[in-house]
């Protein structure tokens, strides 16, 4: 593999996704109703200066007509299956499916079951239109609640039937697959498709938004534990205790969902980054997670049902995670230390920075210079890719769904959406960068225990160890020393002993704060294809495995080829020694609303959260982090010994689910680099 500074280019691989779909138009108007809106748009536009809008409207009509045929094909198949069926109950079910599809091919849904079918039709339609990962259904429980409440009140549905439908929904979402390059699907995504369903948060009027249907959505996540849709709970102090405890009950089963996400921090981020496009606090409340953890803008839309208006949330921006993808922070430090050269491949990545690196400030300055150069060139590259995408393969169905494309007569590639400042700069390996800078500051510049040249030589010698590729182990556990280890033992110990992020240690936490405050702001200097400023995004997905694999040892004592720390606020495995509250102190050393997200993964032994008392303690733990301004935390409630058994005998653990970095995945679907990293994560045995 060549030098990897940046992994994954969205423009060529997955130009859409990491966004929230919007189901308002099909629910409110039905397909024929949307066609009429387009026909009216054509009539109004013909002969006016902006008559190019006609092309968009006409294209949407053609797509919707195709969609109608596609729906009717499925209805025909259901009728065919019914004709073969001998069981009367099953036959009736096929006939109901056919009847429902025939109705929905033209008209708006009339029941909860209809509405659920309708959102699945459009979820699939958009996924069929383009290569997409992370098309999140958003706050489905709030979108569908008006239908469900009405059907419940009328006795048309009960909780048991609702749960069955929600379980079926989980099966369908888990069937979704993503077709892109092997490097992206395997290396970045670990085969996941990131259909994030959000619960909780606030309503348009600022009151809490949790409802009974969302309780059942969590219940379905417990009774039907599948990777999709993953759940994220938009934590707000206003949410009822019963709802939060249901979230705890769901998290405790060990599937990794729901992730806990800070509603107020996200809203502040959105107002900071979309305020210039007209977003105000009321609209910021309509947000949801797109993809694994990308804060995405939304809007409230007026769904009319039985003469009453219900304001439902939905996405109102295109992909929110396109831009500069997954910059390897430790690799950029390695290249800085070696004056622009990748010593593993021998390739020159940057021109010489020309600094002797005689002070920590000079090192930090050189690092920032290279980082800046990388973001600059990758922004231009990405803009070119997305320009090609929007011209060659414009999105129509997804555009039609998003406010305000139908009003503007423009697709999302022409800024038809209400919000368009959606390009970002993504990072990977944050804790390793910060720990490495702390090690060099401590050992080289402050204590002057070692020279920078000595650290460079130690890095090239991998501190006297075999590489991860040689040992086949990608965490610091089970690494094998060479005969040369004695030469490097002391400097390796110095690297490992230097202050580490995650222990409430001001020495290293200040470096984290300096990094975050610089990184989050420098991204605004760059302009997207739509001439909007970029913002920072701090998720690793699975890139910390392959990116670590092509990075030499780092000054924090990490060895060559081993996996980086996951997420951005997670400590490097085994280095957070002062308990979870110390980790929270470290992680809240900066303002998380400066960034689209931050990401923290924790591993807790199941015995710690056992019983009602354990649930209470667990909720208090999460609440403590949210109150400190932490954006996100997610958990593996799992015994490390079991993970080791699962690695040794995968066939016995085919249904085991684990949380990686923003997503839940079957253990057996993960590569060894990520499995080793999850095993080596610090396991908390007390809170």
């Amino acid at each position: 593999m060549r030098s990897v500074i940046c992994m994954f280019d969205s423009g060529y691989t997955l130009p859409q996704g990491r966004e929230v779909i919007n189901f308002y138009y099909p629910l409110q108007y039905g397909i024929n109703g949307i066609i009429r809106i387009c026909e009216e748009g054509i009539a109004e536009t013909a002969g006016t200066p902006d008559m190019d809008r006609i092309y968009f409207f006409q294209a949407v009509i053609l797509m919707l007509q195709g969609l109608q045929s596609w729906i009717l094909n499925h209805a025909e198949e259901a009728r065919f299956l019914s004709s073969l069926e001998k069981d009367e109950k099953q036959k009736l079910e096929y006939d109901e499916i056919a009847g429902r599809l025939e109705w929905l091919s033209t008209s708006r849904p009339g029941s909860f079951h209809d509405a659920l079918q309708m959102i699945w039709i459009f979820q699939t339609a958009v996924l069929n239109e383009d290569a997409i990962s992370g098309l999140s259904p958003g706050r489905v429980g709030q979108v569908l609640y008006p239908y469900w409440k009405r059907d419940m009140d009328k006795g048309l549905i009960d909780r048991e039937k609702t749960l069955e439908l929600l379980e079926c929904m989980r099966i369908k979402f888990t069937e979704i697959d993503c077709f892109a390059s092997m490097g992206v699907v395997g290396g970045v995504l670990s085969g996941n498709t990131f259909n994030n369903l959000c619960i909780g948060g606030l309503k348009k009027d600022g009151t809490q938004a949790a409802n009974e249907l969302e309780m059942l959505i969590m219940e379905a996540g417990i009774t039907c534990d599948t990777p999709q849709p993953t759940l994220s709970l938009l934590y707000d102090e206003k949410l009822p205790e019963e709802f939060l405890l249901k979230g705890i009950e769901c998290t405790k089963i060990g599937t990794g969902y729901p992730a806990w996400v800070n509603n107020q921090v996200a809203m502040e981020f959105l107002l900071n980054n979309y305020g210039h496009e007209g977003m105000q606090s009321e609209e910021a409340r309509a947000w949801s997670i797109g993809g694994c953890l990308e804060t995405s803008p939304g809007s409230w839309m007026p769904l009319e049902l039985d003469g009453e208006i219900h304001w439902i949330p939905g996405g109102s921006a295109p992909a929110t995670s396109v831009g500069v993808h997954f910059l390897s922070l430790p690799k950029l430090l390695e290249v800085t230390l070696f004056d622009g050269l990748d010593m593993r491949s021998g390739e020159r990545i940057f021109p010489s920075h020309g600094f002797a690196l005689e002070s920590y400030e000079e090192l930090w300055g050189a690092y920032k210079d290279y980082f800046h150069r990388a973001v600059h060139i990758l922004t231009l590259t990405n803009n070119i890719q997305h320009d090609a995408w929007r011209k060659i393969s414009p999105s129509l169905i997804n555009s039609m769904l998003k406010p305000d494309c139908l009003k503007k007569g423009k697709d999302i590639g022409q800024m038809g959406s209400r919000f368009n400042s959606t390009f970002n700069v993504e990072s990977c390996g944050t804790a390793n960068l910060v720990n490495s800078l702390a090690s060099l500051k401590k050992n080289v510049y402050d204590d002057k225990k070692y020279s920078l040249a000595e650290f460079r030589n130690a890095i090239l010698a991998n501190f006297g160890f075999k590489t991860a590729q040689e040992t086949g182990s990608y965490s610091l556990i089970d690494q094998v020393a060479t005969k040369e280890y004695h030469k490097w033992k002391q400097i390796h110990k110095a690297g490992l002993s230097a202050p580490k992020f995650g222990n409430d240690d001001q020495y290293v936490d200040q470096i984290m704060a300096d990094w975050e405050n610089w990184f989050c702001r420098m991204t605004h200097e760059f302009r997207s294809l739509y001439d909007q400023p970029l913002y920072s995004c701090q998720i690793s997905v699975s890139t910390h495995g392959p990116m670590g694999a092509v990075t030499l040892a780092s000054p924090d004592g990490r060895l060559s080829g081993t996996t980086f720390s996951d997420g951005s606020m997670s400590a490097f495995p085994g280095t957070d020694k002062n308990g979870p509250y110390a980790l929270f102190e470290s992680a809240s050393c900066w303002n998380h609303s400066l960034s689209q997200n931050s990401q923290m993964n924790m591993k807790i032994h199941p015995s710690v959260v056992k019983g009602r008392e354990g649930s209470r303690k667990f909720l208090e733990l999460i609440r403590a982090y949210m109150r400190k301004g932490g954006f996100h935390v997610q958990f593996n409630i799992v015994d490390t010994r079991m993970l080791k058994e699962a690695q040794a005998e995968p066939d016995k653990f085919r249904s085991l689910l684990v949380r990686v970095a923003g997503f839940t995945q079957y253990w057996v679907e993960l590569g060894k680099q990520i499995q080793d990293e999850v095993i080596s994560r610090t396991e908390y045995e007390e809170l």
Binding site: S69, N73, F80, L81, L84
Partner: protein, 84 residues
């Protein structure tokens, strides 16, 4: 010529390796030999207009890319190449 389940109108594919018989509701494989209830599904490879050009790839009337196992049930121009 032996027929495989994957070419039968009663074959329901689950993935590339697995399928279900719509009549018997049993698990079957795409390459399993068909039974007496076999009815051929319209596919491009059975169409008079399909022209094989490479392994697993061809064209419709030499113009549009097509592949042999493409389901042609909804193709208005489908014409059987040979009688069942």
């Amino acid at each position: 010529m032996e027929n495989n389940c994957k070419d039968c109108k009663y074959y329901l594919p689950v993935d590339v390796f697995k399928g279900i018989c719509k009549i018997e509701k049993t698990n079957i494989g795409p390459d399993d030999l068909s039974c007496i209830k076999f009815e051929r599904l319209p596919k491009c490879k059975f169409c008079r207009k399909y022209k094989a050009e490479k392994e697993f790839l061809g064209s419709c009337l030499g113009e549009t890319i097509a592949y042999p196992d493409m389901n042609a049930s909804k193709c208005a121009g489908f014409e059987w190449f040979q009688q069942n």
